[in-house]
């Protein structure tokens, strides 16, 4: 075979003075970058297959390793970037669609970074969250138009029957990541952390491993186009059911779990043979219209006796506001919107990096549209796609979100280094893999502890920021765009976001 024209992406630098040939790197690398030569008693590296996940660097006991981005020696060219060249060479050699993992990493505007928060000065005193309670509890689900109360009774009695709600102690949930795309231990870490914190994780479209039914009270289960693992017990076990229509990383296309990741356990959960592709078609074949979506929402409500909120997850696309309006009218109690930065275990790169719109713009437009139509109360809005910090969350709430989903951020807390190779099933951090040798690297107890710590830290920061604004309940900030100001955005972008320019007063 002709020599590949592909050039290594990373440079592995081994300090020979420090290397003790202990072979930790050899054992840790699922991509076979490091090779031990017995005769020389030396470890060598072949960087062609290195994905830059930093596993060997982190675990090397003598800090002898460094993995850095390799500068390709070609003449710099603003049009023909190194990434373009790599992709061209790879496709000329394979003829295949380029796969990738995680969220879009292209250099599109990140509007969170152009939004600034307000704070109180003099006239409206700020609140110290260490001394005064600040409420960040959040309820997701349909809210009533009127509350019929019998005030004659003592105490007064609420006569309106309230729609089912999810109660979140923090406005943060873990995004849909299926058992299959992530490992048992990764899923367990998420489920246990959700339970301890008092929030929810999401099964993704892969069904639920029997061990996880215990955590059902803190799991939102997904019904996606593949209907993997969907049966009455699955729907009953969950706190809520989410119909997955789209995903920010790959709007408009289906998904498929490559056969490599369909292990015996995954096959049992999904009810397909070991090693065969698990295909989620692009559309649900019983949904071709808003009316059909309504039919599935009602089917799920029927199946769960109207006791659980039903969420519908859509990707942020050009006409997202009108679509969200239809989804709410179809009876969804929660609308989850996933932006272009939303992650994935596997998606064609061309789709991930080019399809969809930023979640900030989608959120602002959806919230605005639902308010204008007078139906905002009929569903909660949950947004997802590239939430990196507590400040992103609080800005999202001010733009109109009820809560956020975090996926990538949660995986990073578990050790993910964003190498974007989830689709290979060779995750050296034991997260996006089913290989038992790799999955045991993630201890679910430690994973849970790290996730709980992250959510505690973010809650504290959210309370600090709220206190600074003189707001003592997250509910008071929801959709209050006066607490946001924009820097470095065009008038059009500010209009779409519904946010004034920094420097403008009330």
């Amino acid at each position: 075979m002709a020599k590949s024209l592909l050039f290594p992406e990373f440079k592995v630098v081994r300090d020979e003075n420090r290397c003790i040939a202990c072979q930790v790197c050899v054992r840790q690398c699922a991509n076979d970058v490091h090779i031990y030569d017995e005769e020389d008693d030396q470890v060598y590296s072949q960087e062609e297959t290195c994905v830059g996940c930093q596993r060997c660097v982190t675990l090397c006991p003598t800090r002898a390793l460094e993995v850095t981005k390799k500068e390709a020696g070609m003449r710099p060219n603003a049009n023909w970037s190194i990434n373009h060249l790599r992709n061209l060479y790879k496709q000329a050699e394979t003829g295949g669609v380029l796969l990738t993992g995680m969220g879009c990493s292209e250099d599109y505007p990140i509007y969170w970074d152009h939004l600034l928060l307000n704070a109180s000065q003099v006239t409206n005193p700020s609140i110290d969250p260490l001394r005064e309670p600040i409420e960040i509890k959040t309820f997701l689900g349909r809210k009533e138009e009127f509350l019929d109360t019998d005030w004659e009774e003592e105490p007064p009695v609420l006569k309106t029957q309230l729609a089912p709600q999810l109660e979140l102690s923090v406005p943060i949930m873990f995004s849909a990541m299926s058992y299959g795309s992530i490992s048992y231990n990764a899923f367990r870490s998420l489920a246990e952390a959700a339970q301890e914190i008092g929030t929810f994780c999401n099964s993704g479209e892969g069904g639920l491993h029997p061990d996880f039914y215990l955590f059902g009270g803190n799991i939102i289960v997904q019904v996606a186009s593949g209907r993997f693992g969907v049966h009455p017990g699955y729907l009953r076990a969950a706190a809520a059911v989410e119909i997955k229509i789209g995903q920010g990383a790959k709007p408009g296309i289906g998904g498929h779990l490559p056969g490599e990741k369909v292990s015996p356990d995954v096959s049992r959960t999904r009810k397909i043979p070991v090693g065969s592709d698990a295909i989620s078609p692009a559309p649900h074949h019983d949904i071709y219209s808003i009316e059909d979506l309504e039919r599935l929402i009602l089917a799920i409500k029927e199946a769960t006796n109207y006791k659980k909120p039903v969420s519908v997850k859509i990707a942020a696309v050009h006409n997202v506001a009108a679509i969200a309006s239809g989804v709410v009218r179809a009876g969804a109690d929660i609308v989850a919107i996933d932006g272009i930065r939303g992650g994935t275990g596997a998606a064609p790169q061309v789709i991930r990096d080019n399809v969809g719109i930023p979640i900030e713009l989608a959120l602002a437009q959806v919230d605005e549209r639902l308010r204008r139509e007078g139906i905002r109360h009929r569903a909660s809005l949950v947004i997802a796609g590239g939430i990196r910090s507590s400040s992103d969350i609080i800005k999202a709430i001010a733009l109109g979100a009820d809560a956020v989903y975090i996926g990538t951020a949660a995986l990073v807390a578990l050790g993910c280094h964003l190498c974007q190779k989830c689709y290979t099933g060779k995750c050296n951090w034991g997260i996006a893999t089913q290989d038992p040798y790799l999955t045991k690297r993630l201890n679910p107890n430690i994973g849970k502890r790290r996730l709980v710590a992250l959510l505690h830290a973010w809650s504290a920061e959210i309370k600090e920021m709220l206190g600074g604004m003189g707001v003592n309940a997250l509910e008071s900030l929801r959709g209050n765009r006066e607490h946001l100001r924009a820097v470095g955005l065009s008038r059009e972008e500010r209009e779409i976001l519904g946010v004034k320019a920094a420097g403008e007063g009330w």
Binding site: G96, L98, L99, G226, R227, D286, R295, E302
Partner: protein, 245 residues
């Protein structure tokens, strides 16, 4: 036995009543004058019998988990949608997406079905969904099929006619379809094999055919292997070669 006159009743009322009876152990329920009510028999677990007199609405037996439903009439879209176990017997026709994403159980249709019947059925060990259609089917039969069995009998069809439409088994990566009557390679999707049926293969499906004819009380003609074609996937990894890793 319980009997419910469903005329003018909302499906919510009908289904709640059926479930309430079911949960008290009543396992023979007759639904009289059904007309378009959806989700009849949804999620019912364990064995038992429901007779539907009239035309049930969409998603008959959705998520069903063991019950038997007999429809004295036609069924609409999505009969047996994401069904887990049990049996649906339709003494007339059924419409589109019959048995969508079925994970187990049986669906017997005396007449014909619409588009996309048996789409994305899957099987695992003993969970082996089966659809038998007496008449004909629309396009996209067994699309994305990942497991299970579909039999199309083409009864009453003129010799030389095909009982199925176009794009049969597109994206199929598991399971088998048996079609009695004409089938050409042009009718099936990419990556799908078709072959003539052997005596032995015909014997394998014979049990299901007997059960079908017994349940529907019809006499099936003597089937010969040469009348049949078998449709099967050439790979369980249809996307295995599509991507550059």
């Amino acid at each position: 036995m319980k009997l419910l006159d469903c005329r003018g009743k909302h499906y919510r009322e009908v289904n709640a009543m059926v479930e309430a009876w079911w949960n008290t152990g009543e396992r023979k329920i007759i639904l009289e004058r059904i007309n378009g009510q959806r989700y009849i028999g949804r999620t019912l677990s364990g064995s038992g019998y429901i007779e539907v007199r009239g035309t049930p609405g969409d998603d008959l037996g959705m998520f069903m988990d063991g019950a038997t439903i007999r429809v004295k009439g036609n069924a609409q879209d999505g009969a047996g949608n994401t069904m887990n176990a049990g049996k649906i017997i339709v003494e007339g026709d059924a419409r589109d997406i019959t048995g969508l994403s079925m994970r187990g159980g049986k669906i017997w249709i005396k007449g014909s079905v619409g588009y996309r019947a048996g789409i994305h059925m899957k099987s695992y060990e003993d969970d082996y969904p089966i659809i038998v259609v007496g008449g004909t089917t629309g396009d996209f039969l067994g699309e994305y099929m990942a497991g299970g069995l579909i039999l199309v009998l083409g009864l009453g069809l003129d010799k030389g006619c095909s009982p199925v439409g176009k794009f049969i088994a597109s994206g199929m990566h598991g399971g088998t379809i048996f079609i009695r009557g004409k089938l050409t390679e042009k009718q099936v999707g990419k990556g799908i094999g078709i072959e003539e049926v052997s005596e032995e293969q015909l014997r394998e499906i014979n049990n299901y055919l007997e059960e079908y004819s017994g349940d529907l009380k019809i006499n099936l003609p003597d089937f010969l292997p040469k009348d049949w074609m078998r449709v099967f996937p050439l790979t369980t990894r249809p996307y295995g070669r599509l991507y550059a890793y």
